[in-house]
Subunit: 246 residues, 2 copies
């Protein structure tokens, strides 16, 4: 496993205003600066394994990963996509409950587990931010439950594309598009299938079906062009606009 360690100022950090540190002032930040270490891992690295010790709490600075669980016989379900500002590790727990695999080169901002537990206890700004982020993750997990439990294959793929666009917009700090968008999927068909509780074949067929109906465009190389984003959201069976509820 090739991994590089870098140091960089928190004030320059791309996730400064969205990660667990988002609500910290300069004084809190100085403490974090001392405790953190950046580390970069190549695509495909297993960042955590179910049942194995996980000795760091880490925030994603760049890159993406899947968080998944495997059943006895090899069936796999991805329960979350981790992207910039998301975290792995849980205060008060030394063992990972999921497998985490890097989809691309990933840079983590890491804290030794014990150290982070202390930081959460002593820094109200971190505790508050952790709570908000965890509540957001909870909403995302429940949204996934709705997708997995009640949507058709076609709706699942549409919902996946819609949520992908929304997340990428959030990371870019851009508005969620209303008409045309083009982006590159960080997941293979296989990985999308594991996320949607489908087989790779069904997933591929639904991509093809959406393409044939003009709802999406597949220029090649995992790129997706959505000519009319609003129209695609109608294919998910959900009526809300998915906007913030605060």
């Amino acid at each position: 496993m090739v991994a590089q360690t870098r140091t960089s100022a928190c004030s320059e950090c791309p996730i400064r205003h969205r990660a667990v540190c988002a609500e910290c002032g300069t004084d809190d930040l100085a403490v974090l600066e001392m405790a953190k270490s950046y580390k970069t891992y190549p695509a495909g690295t297993r960042l955590a394994s179910e049942g194995q010790p996980l000795m760091h709490f880490s925030s994603f600075v760049a890159g993406a990963a899947t968080m998944s669980r495997m059943l006895e016989d090899g069936r796999r379900q991805t329960v979350g996509l981790l992207m910039a500002s998301d975290f792995i590790g849980r205060p008060g727990r030394a063992v990972s409950a999921y497998d985490v695999e890097a989809l691309s080169e990933v840079t983590l901002c890491r804290f030794e587990r014990r150290t982070f537990e202390t930081l959460v206890k002593r820094t109200p700004a971190i505790a508050a931010r952790m709570l908000t982020m965890t509540l957001d993750e909870l909403d995302a997990a429940r949204e996934l439950a709705v997708i997995l439990g009640r949507m058709t294959a076609r709706e699942k793929v549409a919902a996946f594309l819609v949520s992908m666009v929304r997340r990428l917009a959030l990371i870019d700090g851009a508005e969620v598009p209303t008409d045309e968008v083009t982006f590159k999927l960080p997941l293979s068909r296989d990985q999308i299938a594991d996320h949607l509780g489908l087989t790779i074949e069904t997933t591929s067929r639904q991509f093809t079906a959406l393409r044939k109906e003009g709802l999406i465009d597949l220029p090649g190389g995992r790129s997706v062009r959505i000519p009319d984003f609003q129209r695609l959201t109608l294919e998910t069976g959900e009526d809300d606009d998915g906007g913030p509820l605060d």
Copy 2:
């Protein structure tokens, strides 16, 4: 909607050591005591509706409820079962993201939303407990995603019964049984189906199938007897024992 309001000392409260107040000392508790109000609702009450204002943060003192989301055309997915010590409402959000319906008579310990937001901010013990509970909820939601995405109908029903037994044991403060257990389901077949992403017919057939194989016993009236709990857990396709990971 018939609802009664009662007052009772926190020290006497059945969820004193598991709810958001669990980590509070007597001084914090005195503050909560001032702000809280108990309220009891009959079975069937809609405690919250998706998209509607939710002006209280409430903990379940007694009773059970489902938390669900409905798609445009009426398909419903239950994303969580709420039981003693669980909460509804989210600090910083005035609108419910889900429908919440009482399965039995429910007693809530309620705080006016604004008041609770202040309490979380000012009381580290509450903030810390909220985080732990939310992380637990997150694990439960992801576990549900695995069930919905990758399990067969038979495994789903088995997994549901197993998790039900574990939760009831937790609430009773009892050990998770290893052999024989009997309990009463708080949900109808319909509600179980909505929780497992199945139809009522398939759910019923799987109950029958498990009964015919001697894995469960159905004495009538929503009662379930499990002669060999360990054996039932093997039917879920999961290999772990679901025990605490801390």
